[in-house]
Every structure is written in structure tokens, then in C-alpha cells.
């Protein structure tokens, strides 16, 4: 059987659709979570959802449904603990984080299921995705996308400045809960492909990658969804290709591919930021003393290699800590 034959298999096609949807939903809500500086929120909810999966295994109910219920409850609880201010946001996260994982592993043991069963939820699994799972994933993805896109002005205001948003008349608590619940929903959506332990990476890494190149929130948002789709579909294909030789869960390949994209864009981002700092126009300052440069044999011009920075009505050429402006036959120090 070749790689292309693999793509014609039903379970593989279901997995690809699920991966594509996950790649859209997770970064969409992830952008607002990163904007709120709660990048690890997804991790906390993911760990709580492990307990949900284990409860499903114990009671014989669908692990997807029990995971979504417990994840939503965990997200709401985290938001309440954070808002009441009894503990720091990150401490609240840590408490649920450890409780969720420990509870999940314990309950899975009580349910008499081995680590292998749990593992397909922790790191994703190619062949466990049923037709109902795909429909379920599609519906949840549509809900996440409609709400994040439709309410983006409100969510952006709340995520950037809560005091301002409250005085503007927004129900800040409601929007905070909405962000937490949508995060819980996207995590359950991503559970089958990336797995609960790595799902947060798909919310954060595409955003980090996209913001290397983007300057606006909108571009970051769209770019993150693009990176998310490429990483999740690409990672799934890599994992499928590797499956001829070794057994690799799709979660790690998806996350490593996303990280590789970040590593590739990071130097470009560093260069772009440095360049935009260098090329920012110099402010106009009135009445600077006239100073001409010492004899300067070099001739500045468009291709001379020195940054040409706008300064009022002319251009300064920057080199060795000097700003040279053309003045007749010579250069002035600006």
C-alpha cells in the first residue's frame, strides 16, 4: 500500500477533515486568549478535559461529550477563581491543571482501562475518528468561528482593556466566560487530532508564528488560522507517511510542524522589527545648530547601502552613529 492509497481510506479522509476544522477553530479563539495574555489557559482546560474523558470511559458514556461538559465546567471555574481574585490567574490555572491530569489518570485506572486507551485522547489518534465525530467537530467549529468573527469587536475590546470595555457598557464577565467556554469547546474539537496535552500548542503557536509577520490584529487572526490549517493537515500527513515504519501519534507531528513554521518566521520577524525601528522617520526638532560633516569622501544615494530615513522634507543617511543630510556640495550632521 502506498501513501496515496492511504489517502483514499475513509478513516484517513475523516481525519483530514477533522484536522482542517481543528486548524481553523483553535487559532481563532487562541488569538483572543493570547491577546488577554492567558496563553496557558488552553493547557489548563486541556488537562481538566482529561478527567472528562476518563469519566466517559468509566461510565460508558461518550468520552467526547463528557470531555466537553467537564472542560466547560473547568473553564468557567477557572474564570470565576481568576475574577474573584483569591488567587492569581496563573495559580488558578495550575491548580486545575494538576487536579485535572491526576484525576483523569486515576479514574482511567479505576475504569480498568490501560494507558493505551487514554493515550489516544492525550496525543490524538488517526483511526479513532468516527463519522459522528467529524459531524460533531464541524458543528462546533462553525459555532466557534461564527462567534469569534461575529463578536470580534467586542472580544477584542474586552481582551485588550477590561476597564475600558466595562465603562463602554459591555458585560465583561459574560465575554470572559464566552472566551473560556469557546476555548473549552475548541479543545474538545481538537482532542481527536492533536490530543488534549498538546492542544494548547495549536491555539498559541500559530498566533506566535503569525504575529512575527503581521502588524495588525486582523492579519494576525487570519494568518494564525492559515498556519493552524497548514500545520494540522500537514502534520497529519507526515504522521500518516511515517506510519508505514513506526507508530506515531498525529499530535506531536502537528505541533512540531507548527513550531518549525514559527522557527522559520522568527528570524524574519526579528529582521522586520529591527528594520521598522531603523527606518522610522526622525522627529522634526526646531532650531538645531548647523553643523557640517567633516570631509566625507563617500557619496550617499539610493543604493549606497546606508539606511535612508525620512526627516521632515529631506532624507538622512544613517551610518556609524551619524545622520548625514545632503546640503549642496557637502553633508550636514543632523
Amino acid at each position: 500500500m502506498t501513501f496515496l492509497d492511504l489517502l483514499s481510506l475513509d478513516f484517513m479522509q475523516r481525519a483530514l477533515v477533522a484536522a482542517l476544522l481543528t486548524g481553523l477553530a483553535a487559532p481563532a479563539i487562541g488569538t483572543f486568549i493570547v491577546q488577554r495574555r492567558l496563553a496557558l489557559l488552553g493547557d489548563g482546560i486541556g488537562h481538566v478535559a482529561v478527567t472528562g474523558v476518563a469519566l466517559g470511559l468509566l461510565t460508558g458514556a461518550s468520552p467526547t461529550w463528557s470531555a466537553i461538559v467537564v472542560a466547560v465546567l473547568g473553564a468557567v471555574l477557572m474564570e470565576v477563581i481568576r475574577e474573584r481574585g483569591h488567587t492569581n490567574g496563573d495559580v488558578a490555572l495550575a491548580l486545575l491543571f494538576y487536579g485535572g491530569l491526576a484525576g483523569g489518570v486515576l479514574i482511567t485506572g479505576i475504569a480498568g482501562q490501560g494507558a493505551a486507551t487514554l493515550q489516544s485522547y492525550l496525543f490524538g489518534s488517526l483511526n479513532s475518528i468516527s463519522y459522528t465525530d467529524v459531524v460533531f467537530t464541524a458543528v462546533l467549529t462553525v459555532v466557534v468561528l461564527v462567534l469569534t468573527l461575529g463578536l470580534s469587536p467586542q472580544l477584542f475590546a474586552v481582551a485588550s482593556d477590561q476597564d475600558f470595555a466595562r465603562v463602554a457598557g459591555l458585560r465583561v464577565r459574560g465575554y470572559n466566560l464566552l472566551i473560556a467556554v469557546l476555548a473549552a469547546v475548541s479543545i474538545t474539537v481538537a482532542m481527536r487530532t492533536v490530543g488534549l496535552l498538546l492542544v494548547s500548542a495549536l491555539m498559541v503557536v500559530p498566533v506566535a508564528t503569525s504575529q512575527q509577520l503581521a502588524r495588525s490584529f486582523r492579519a494576525t487572526f487570519v494568518g494564525a488560522m492559515l498556519v493552524g490549517c497548514v500545520a494540522s493537515v500537514g502534520g497529519l500527513l507526515v504522521s500518516a507517511a511515517l506510519s508505514f515504519r513506526v507508530d506515531v501519534a498525529p499530535g506531536p507531528t502537528i505541533v512540531l510542524l507548527a513550531l518549525a513554521m514559527f522557527t522559520a518566521t522568527w528570524p524574519i520577524g526579528v529582521w522586520l522589527r529591527r528594520r521598522s525601528r531603523l527606518m522610522a522617520p526622525f522627529p522634526e526638532v526646531a532650531a538645531a545648530p548647523h553643523r557640517s560633516a567633516d570631509v566625507h569622501p563617500h557619496e550617499h544615494g539610493e543604493d549606497c547601502g546606508h539606511p535612508a530615513v525620512p526627516h521632515a522634507d529631506h532624507v538622512d543617511y544613517v551610518h556609524d552613529g551619524h545622520r548625514h543630510a545632503v546640503h549642496g556640495e557637502h553633508y550636514d550632521e543632523h
Binding site: R166, V167, A168
Partner: protein, 267 residues
């Protein structure tokens, strides 16, 4: 003027505010009339920011009543008439955003849910950018701007909501003189449109000619309420007793106990 006159933007009626059970604002009366620009001065910890947070509904009132445009705060729903510039908040978040995007978020109070941006939204954002003098930098990333320029972005964000009442909590803190001048110009433009402005400030600088009235806070009380004072005079007075505050006569109640209700009721 009746106490519930809807033309009066701000009325604080014997307002006390406690944070964690500790009284921070005590028995404060303050009325701000339409079109006035009032500055709140006073040393750190005197309750200026607490007063501003109480009148914007961010802090609950322990006693007394706050009325905005004649409506008690609990029933007030017209928040799009109020613009707010919070203290020391940065314009940057975890994700990059352009100046225009941050300013556009000031329209949230006027936007209906799940509706696209309207032409009125766009023109309000452009005019707010123009008022603070950042129209040319609208597509810059906010993090590329200096601290003073970021403060102007936050003011433009509040202006984009086209408020009738603008409340600013220390917009001049750590802002250099040219940016303070730009800020003062923006406030002048707003004032000419008839807006009411409540400003908490440490440095007044170029805003001095705009100010109609100064309120000096001290230890949770209103220590002076009258014609404009400069920061220098107000902080100079801080070293003396309350009754030495310039203005000719004693505005400050004599404090004998933290909650001095009886003396007030007698007077």
C-alpha cells in the same frame, strides 16, 4: 436645577467608597456641569482615582449616590455617552494591533452585536485619529509608538465613541511636553464640541487655559473646590493644613473622626 436634572453629567451625592472595608472616599459631594472641564488634583493616595472609578461604575459605592446625566448609576444604561481613559493602561496587548484597530475598539459601546462596521463607525474613528494628530500613523503598530503617543491612542479610542462626558485618569503621567501639548489640543477640540471633561492629573502644563474648575482631594475628602489652581499651588497647599488652601475661605470640613457624619448634618 433639580437633583435629577438630566443635563447635569455628573453628580456625586455624599459618596463614600470602601476598598476591602477600608474607607477610601469619604462623604464626597461633587457636581460637574455640562461643558465644564474639571481637574482633580491631590497627592497620591488621596482618592482621585477611586473617585473616578466610582463615578464610572468600576467600584461599588458604599454610601451615597452617583448620578450620571440625572440617572442613578445602577439604572444608567447610556454608557456610550461616557468615554473613559484608564490609568496607566498600555495600548498594547499580547497580539499586535494597529493604531486604527485600537481606536476602532472605542466604538464597541455604539455597535450592535454581529453587525459589520458602519460608515458612521469609520468616520468617527478617522475623526478621533485626526483630533489627536495620529491620522498619519493610523496603520502603524501600536507597539511602535512612544509612551506619549500610545496615551494619545487611548484618548482617541475614548473619543471614537463620541462621548458627552470624557473621564481621564492621569493621561499626562510620564508624557513629554510635545505630547502633552497634543493632548491639550485634543481636549480643546472636544471641549469646543460641548463635551464635559473630568481629568485626574499630576501635571497640568499646557492644559491650564482649558480648565474651568479645580477640585483638590486630600485623604478621601474634597479639600478645595473652586477656580483653577496649578499643580504647584495645590501641592504646595498640601504641606499646610486644610484651611490654608488658597481660595480665600475654608472649603474643607474639619476632620475629627474618619466618618464625620454628625458634623456634616449639623452644618
Amino acid at each position: 436645577m433639580t437633583p435629577t436634572d438630566t443635563s447635569v453629567p455628573v453628580v456625586l451625592d455624599r459618596v463614600s467608597v470602601a476598598i476591602g472595608g477600608r474607607p477610601i472616599l469619604r462623604d464626597v459631594d461633587l457636581t460637574v456641569h455640562a461643558g465644564d472641564m474639571v481637574t482633580l488634583l491631590g497627592p497620591n493616595g488621596s482618592g482621585k482615582s477611586t473617585l473616578v472609578r466610582a463615578l464610572t461604575g468600576l467600584l461599588p459605592v458604599a454610601r451615597g449616590e452617583v448620578r450620571l446625566f440625572g440617572t442613578p448609576l445602577d439604572d444608567f444604561g447610556d454608557w456610550q455617552r461616557v468615554g473613559f481613559v484608564p490609568q496607566r493602561s498600555t495600548a498594547t496587548g499580547g497580539v499586535p494591533a494597529t493604531v486604527r484597530e485600537v481606536v476602532a475598539s472605542g466604538r464597541v459601546g455604539r455597535r450592535r452585536l454581529l453587525r459589520p462596521t458602519s460608515a458612521a463607525d469609520r468616520s468617527a474613528v478617522e475623526s478621533a485619529l485626526e483630533v489627536v494628530g495620529l491620522a498619519e500613523r493610523a496603520s502603524y503598530g501600536v507597539s511602535q509608538l512612544s509612551g506619549g503617543q500610545q496615551q494619545r491612542v487611548l484618548i482617541a479610542r475614548a473619543l471614537a465613541g463620541e462621548p458627552d462626558l470624557l473621564v481621564l485618569d492621569e493621561p499626562t503621567a510620564g508624557v513629554d511636553l510635545p505630547n502633552q501639548q497634543a493632548l491639550a489640543d485634543a481636549l480643546r477640540r472636544l471641549k469646543e464640541r460641548g463635551a464635559t471633561i473630568v481629568l485626574v492629573a499630576h501635571e497640568i502644563g499646557p492644559m491650564m487655559p482649558l480648565i474651568d474648575r479645580t477640585v483638590v482631594m486630600r485623604d478621601g475628602w474634597v479639600a478645595y473646590d473652586g477656580p483653577p489652581l496649578t499643580q504647584e499651588v495645590a501641592s504646595h497647599a498640601h504641606h499646610h493644613h486644610d484651611h490654608d488652601v488658597p481660595g480665600g475661605h475654608d472649603h474643607a470640613p474639619h476632620v475629627s473622626s474618619p466618618f464625620d457624619w454628625e458634623r456634616r448634618n449639623r452644618s
